[in-house]
């Protein structure tokens, strides 16, 4: 098990390159995407501490003589500084101010009353009388409201019973529909790299349908597609076409078009699939996703 501290030492170049630990970290960086994310996190934290000036002198030296040697990291540091400065100058949100400065919250009402100047005696008596009348009126109104509320509650209970009865009739049909249709939305053409993840669809029922919606961004060059026109759609797995359909219409929307495709789930192979979308005479667009078996 490699911990954050060991990753930190690795990134600061403070481990022996011939050591077994470095070999293990090297291997996991290249083969384990999740581990690579943790390394990114530790890397960002070193930069954050460097910007804040909270590194100890040994670490500071390692950062400047080793960690910041690659130009890629220097560019990253510059952007991190830019972000840090921007957020430091941005005013804290109201919620966070309240969260961390409880003294700013409202003082209890009795303190305010206590601080008010005293009324003169007659004025106090008059005010007390008015107050008593208002209270009596409020009590009367409350009783009336209570009765109205009871009537309304009874009517609502009747309505709810009717609704439950209707739901009982509709629910089985909805369940059949829900279990047979799975949805997938594809936005990014090409494989997602780095920290991104491929969209995943779980196949729960082989007799159902996979409804795919593909967002196609507008293409001013006209190389990939024209705003109107039909598409040829192919589903590929391991380089083989497993399903295809011609003349699929697209719905034109602001900023591009949306393609809706319904696929029988029984045609879906488990693993990485590629949906290739093409207009005649244009370059194909490819969307990758993962099909996972959840039956």
């Amino acid at each position: 098990m490699i911990n954050d501290l060991q990753i930190r030492e690795y990134l600061l170049g403070r481990l022996d390159d011939d050591s077994e630990l470095v070999e293990q970290i090297d291997e996991r960086i290249l083969t384990d995407a999740q581990f690579s994310v943790i390394v990114d996190v530790v890397e960002d934290e070193i930069m954050e501490e460097y910007i804040e000036g909270s590194l100890c002198s040994d670490e500071l030296q390692s950062v400047e003589s080793h960690f910041l040697r690659p130009p890629e990291r220097q560019r990253k540091l510059r952007n991190a500084r830019l972000l840090s400065r921007h957020l430091a100058t941005a005013s804290p949100s109201r919620e966070s101010v309240e969260r961390f400065e409880p003294s700013r919250r409202f003082a209890p009402a009795w303190i305010l009353v206590w601080k008010r100047p005293h009324f003169r005696t007659y004025a106090e008596i008059a005010a007390a009388a008015v107050f008593a009348v208002v209270i009596a009126f409020l009590i009367y109104q409350r009783r009336e409201l209570g009765m109205t509320l009871e009537r309304t509650n009874w009517q609502m209970a009747q309505e709810r019973q009717k609704e439950i009865a209707s739901n009982q009739q509709v629910q089985p049909r909805l369940q059949i529909l829900a279990s047979s249709t799975t949805e997938l939305h594809l936005f990014d053409a090409g494989l997602t790299r780095g920290n991104g993840q491929l969209p995943t669809v779980n196949v729960t029922n082989t007799s159902g349908t996979l409804h795919i919606e593909v967002a196609i961004l507008s293409d001013p060059t006209g190389k990939f597609h024209s705003p109107t026109g039909e598409y040829q759609v192919q589903l590929k797995h391991l380089g083989q076409t497993v399903w295809s359909r011609d003349a699929v219409d697209s719905l034109s929307v602001p900023g591009g078009a949306v393609l809706s495709i319904d696929l029988p789930q029984e045609t879906l192979p488990i693993g990485i699939c590629e949906l290739v979308v093409k207009q005649p005479g244009k370059t194909a667009l490819s969307y990758s996703f993962i099909v996972s078996d959840a039956r």
Binding site: S65, A80, R193
Partner: protein, 199 residues
């Protein structure tokens, strides 16, 4: 010292990869040309990142050197390695160790003196504007999270992050999520600044 190290020329290197060997390497990655190209770029990006994490100023160069060797191995013994990444891993490590031995820079007297810490860096108007635009493209939830995550310093920062951890499902999750947001912002700002420079 940082600058002087970066300006060092990349070590001399002879590319002995023929077009045929490269084509054979791509076929070894995948019989599908498009898929092979994608895999190649993916492996290349992973290797560049690996060498950057090693603190190497010539990451692209060592990546090319690694891929050239992997391609030659794959051409001669295509059946020996069923997956490319373990092979790349072994070769990359070997290339790195060789690089350490061959590229020993002359030790200067002031080699142990760290570069001055630059707390005050001037940013161009374009950079500031690009950051504003990129922050604006984040979802409100991500923008709020990244803002709160970097809002305080010292004790307040620790308390703030504890509270964010409670809200967002644990400290590790918050660390990873904010790291991904920062990576997106970095890519967005870099791209925006580059495009602005071209226009």
């Amino acid at each position: 010292m940082l600058a002087s190290m970066d300006l060092q020329p990349a070590p001399e290197r002879k590319r002995n990869l023929t077009p045929e060997a490269f084509a054979s390497f791509l076929t070894w990655l995948s019989p599908n040309q498009g898929q092979a190209a994608r895999e190649y770029l993916d492996i290349r990006q992973t290797l560049v990142k690996y060498f950057v994490r090693k603190g190497c100023a010539h990451a692209e160069d060592l990546t090319d050197r690694t891929l050239d060797r992997v391609a030659l191995i794959a051409q001669h013994e295509p059946g020996k390695y069923p997956k490319p990444m373990p092979l790349c891993c072994g070769v990359a490590r070997r290339v790195w160790l060789e690089y350490l031995r061959e590229a020993t820079p002359e030790v200067l007297e002031d080699d142990n003196i760290p570069a001055p810490v630059q707390h005050e860096v001037d940013f161009t108007e374009q950079e500031v504007s690009c950051l504003g635009s990129c922050l604006g493209r984040l979802s409100p939830r991500d923008r709020e999270l990244i803002t709160q995550y970097h809002q305080f310093q010292g004790r307040q920062k620790i308390e703030s992050r504890k509270q964010l951890a409670q809200l967002y499902g644990g400290l590790n999750k918050v660390r990873i999520t904010t790291c991904r947001i920062r990576a997106r912002l970095h890519d967005c700002v870099s791209g925006c600044v580059q495009r602005s420079a071209l226009n």
